[in-house]
């Protein structure tokens, strides 16, 4: 969907980011944007052979004060509700009933945790018998907790954000792995640009520390096994290293932000998404088409780029080809694959890229190069704009452009 008439500027006025590298945006500024080398936080033992980036030590009470609320959620929802709270606080919206009442919520979500103990119990008891239904029925009614079912539902991350933070303007949840994050950002951007909304909290979350999640992605062999390495270096079929991430941003029309004197990180200038069927070369063509729609906004020369590449091949290889070919358009992308540092956040990956782009503008830096020199080159000047890429491990391509506010 291409916007014909874009009028309202879309500003980023709040960032909520929590991951294996830290509990909030400040921690990420210190770890990723100080110029010092970054060592990713990876646990290679717990789910071997799958490395994961475990969530940092976080005091959830900071953003989810009621223990009763915390008990209603598993880690996925807690990470998301926590990060959403950070973004609201950062934007100066938290605990402001008048603003929260008309803050629209857009969430990118998969599903929450299954009770893997119950699953195992059922599978064991099913052993000699065929009748799955009968046994599931004998075990489940006593083992399943009603609240856990609510923890699994995709829209209940949004539901809990409404409950804990009183965000009640509206609430929409997009699904579809990485496409969920692309759709959420695109929808939020389009609505504000067109004057259909003025203030939107948008983002997503992933809990990487889940055997049920690992199983879902190991079907089709999408996960990286063995030692952690940068996404560009993952050979054979490649694969992603799941990272626990909560990433939300507050987007706001310029008029709305000016009226309440909110200080923006930057301007979300464009979000373009595509959906290739992924025959050979399709990702390169799709990304080139998306870039074409925003080429007029990009001056020649250095283009600071935060790549959401997952490490799964061939998607990550094709993205690299696309980035390399930008030279023919007089663009020199200075790339940082943040998945090499935070891991892959699936639904939360694109929102995390937008959050990091905002921090890059604020700090005047990119994270230090972490991949092969041929693609992750040094940056010569503080970024004035950042291109964010989102290429799903199976489907979905997207680009966003975040620009400094003069």
């Amino acid at each position: 969907m291409t916007l014909k008439t874009s009028s309202n500027e879309v500003l980023i006025t709040g960032v909520g980011l929590a991951s294996s590298l830290g509990a909030d945006a400040e921690a990420h500024l210190a770890r990723l944007f100080s110029g010092a080398p970054v060592t990713p936080a990876v646990d290679e033992a717990r789910y071997a052979p799958y490395p994961v980036h475990p969530f940092a030590e976080v005091d959830f009470s900071r953003e989810i004060p009621k223990k009763s609320d915390q008990r209603q959620m598993e880690l996925w929802q807690r990470i998301g509700v926590y990060a959403a709270g950070l973004a609201l606080s950062d934007a100066g919206i938290a605990r402001n009933p008048e603003l929260l009442d008309r803050t629209d919520l857009v969430v990118a979500a998969g599903s929450g945790e299954r009770d893997t103990k119950v699953d195992c119990e059922v599978l064991e008891k099913l052993g000699p018998r065929d009748d799955a239904a009968l046994l599931a029925k004998e075990v489940l009614p006593s083992a399943l907790r009603p609240t856990l079912f609510l923890a699994q539902l995709s829209n209940m991350l949004a539901g809990n954000i409404s409950i804990v933070h009183n965000v009640t303007g509206s609430s929409r949840t997009f699904m579809g792995e990485e496409m969920a994050g692309l759709a959420a950002l695109e929808n939020a951007h389009r609505r504000i640009a067109a004057g259909q909304a003025g203030l939107i909290l948008v983002g997503g979350a992933l809990n990487a520390e889940r055997e049920d999640l690992l199983l879902g992605y190991e079907i089709g062999h999408n996960l990286w096994r063995g030692s952690h390495c940068p996404v560009w270096d993952r050979e054979d079929g490649g694969g992603f290293v799941p990272g626990s991430i909560g990433a939300f941003v507050v987007l706001e029309s310029k008029a709305h932000a000016d009226a309440r004197k909110a200080k923006p990180y930057g301007r979300l200038v464009a979000v373009e998404t595509g959906h290739a069927q992924r025959e050979r070369g399709a990702i390169v063509r799709t990304l080139a088409d998306l870039l074409g729609r925003m080429r007029g906004l990009l001056p020649d020369g250095e283009l600071p780029t935060l790549s959401g590449a997952s490490g799964k091949r061939p998607a990550t290889c094709e993205e690299r080809v696309f980035l390399t070919q930008l030279a023919s358009q007089n663009l020199n992308p200075i790339v940082r694959a943040y998945g090499s540092l935070l891991g892959h956040g699936v639904e939360a990956q694109f929102p995390a890229g937008i959050a990091l782009a905002a921090l890059a503008l604020k700090s005047g830096r990119l994270p230090p190069p972490g991949g092969p020199e041929s693609i992750e080159q040094p940056l010569s000047a503080p970024p004035q704009r950042v291109l964010v890429t989102g290429v799903g491990h199976w489907r979905g391509e997207g680009l966003a452009l975040v620009e400094a506010v003069a």
């Binding site: 969907m1 195992c120 239904a133 489940l140 929409r172 609505r191 079907i219 089709g220 595509g274 959906h275």
Partner: protein, 426 residues
């Protein structure tokens, strides 16, 4: 300001030019409609799996499509395909497999069912491992490519996009039991902002499987009136005791009025407006004062440019749970006042059951047909609840010209979405 082309806020008027439906009453909008207005019920004993020992043993399953073995993914996809094909063919829009607009689809949770987990678990039975360690070890040894679709949230949309050739990245949406209405809202907004001239909006849900049933049962949400299945779903009745799970899919082709007229399409109805309001009170219950539902209805009327007294008929969410029907009545009363007592209302769920993710889509199709045919479908099993003063259309359909229909959709997680439809602009 309002005209045929632009609405009261100067936005493009959005119309419906194609409808498609699959429910427990049958396949096809005409089949479902004729059975609905005749007062037939699609609720029956579950035959898909053994229900021995379960508290609830009935549902509005869809058994008319050839999908075997059953899986939520395969049946949800087949129903969505059937409904979309019908809607596109009625609208006569685009070329074959080339729909000129985006796909917006509401889909049920993507998850392994027990037969899938069993297949992975048993792939290497001599494995010394147990539990998820064994599942993961087996998944590493084989690709199980045939199972991936069940756990990919983008897979239904991907399949439908390929089949119908929709434009751009398809949207997969979940706002629980309001999801179908959300697809219409997203389509409406996209056309209004000039992003597209058309949108294919679909809701589909086929999750009557053991775990699906048990989960709602554990939330005490389901009717246990198993002995007479057709009498179990009794919205707004004194004796209502829960909803009846059901399956279905609804599809609508939305277009800008101008685009539809330009290609000579028959206009079936107008999407006048949508509104939503989230509830922060509780995960499964709404605020006792109904503030969020009331907010959603008010925002919808304001968006549509319709006064409360202009609502001629209400297609209720009407789940037949004690909570929903009470709160829905209270909220309608707060917005419509005494006009509510003179406004006929019915719940399609009394006959098709609660199609969950698809409900907003299924009921949107029925709402458009209500406008088009001048017939109000009945609410079966109505035994008036003195606490819910409503003009419920009981047992038999009623002939009535209606110009404006309010369709409500409310879901777990504080999701409240309403839509106002009206007839073709004069």
């Amino acid at each position: 300001m309002a005209s045929r082309t632009l609405d009261h806020k100067g936005r493009p008027v959005v119309v419906v030019t194609g409808l498609g439906l699959v429910t427990s009453l049958g396949v096809g909008a005409e089949t479902c409609w004729s059975r609905l207005v005749a007062g037939h019920s699609g609720i029956k004993p579950i035959r898909r799996f053994s229900t021995q020992g379960l508290k609830t043993t009935i549902a509005g399953t869809v058994d008319d499509l050839d999908v075997a073995p059953y899986s939520a993914f395969d049946l949800s996809t087949a129903m969505a395909e059937s409904a979309a094909e019908e809607a596109i063919s009625q609208a006569k829009i685009g070329r074959t497999a080339s729909f000129p607009g985006p796909l917006i689809v509401a889909t049920p949770p993507s998850e392994f069912e027990w037969p899938h987990l069993r297949e992975i678990y048993d792939a290497h039975p001599n494995n010394a491992l147990t539990g998820y360690k064994r599942l993961l070890a087996n998944a590493r040894r084989e690709r199980f490519g045939g199972l991936a679709r069940h756990v990919r949230f983008s897979a239904i949309a991907d399949h439908l996009k390929q089949r119908f050739g929709t434009e751009g990245a398809p949207l997969s949406v979940c706002t629980a039991c309001a999801s179908g209405a959300t697809t219409i809202q997203l389509g409406l907004e996209a056309i209004r902002r000039g992003a597209t001239d058309a949108a294919l909006c679909i809701g589909t849900d086929a999750t009557v499987h053991p775990e699906g049933l048990i989960r709602f049962s554990l939330l005490s949400a389901l009717s246990t009136a198993n002995s007479e299945p057709t009498k179990a779903s009794k919205p707004f009745s004194r004796t209502r005791d829960g909803f009846v799970m059901a399956e279905g899919a609804g599809a609508l082709v939305l277009e800008s009025y101008d685009a539809a007229k330009a290609r000579g399409a028959k206009i079936l109805g107008v999407v006048r407006g949508c509104g939503e309001k989230a509830d922060e009170f509780h995960r499964t219950r709404s605020k006792p004062d109904g503030a969020a539902m009331i907010g959603a209805i008010r925002k919808t009327l304001a968006d549509a440019g319709v006064e409360p007294h202009e609502i001629d008929y209400i297609n209720a969410h009407g789940t037949s749970t004690p909570e929903n029907d009470k709160m829905e009545t209270l909220s309608l009363r707060a917005v419509l006042g005494d006009h509510l007592l003179r406004t006929p209302i019915s719940s399609n769920k009394s006959m098709v059951g609660h199609t969950l993710i698809a409900a907003g889509s299924v009921e949107a199709v029925f709402s458009i047909l209500t406008l088009e045919r001048g017939v109000l479908p009945p609410t079966l099993n109505y035994d008036p609840d003195p606490d819910l003063p409503l003009d419920v259309v009981p047992e038999q359909s009623r002939q009535a010209r209606v110009r404006t229909v309010l369709s409500n959709s409310f879901g777990f997680g504080g999701q409240n979405v309403c839509v106002v439809f009206s007839g073709e602009p004069a």
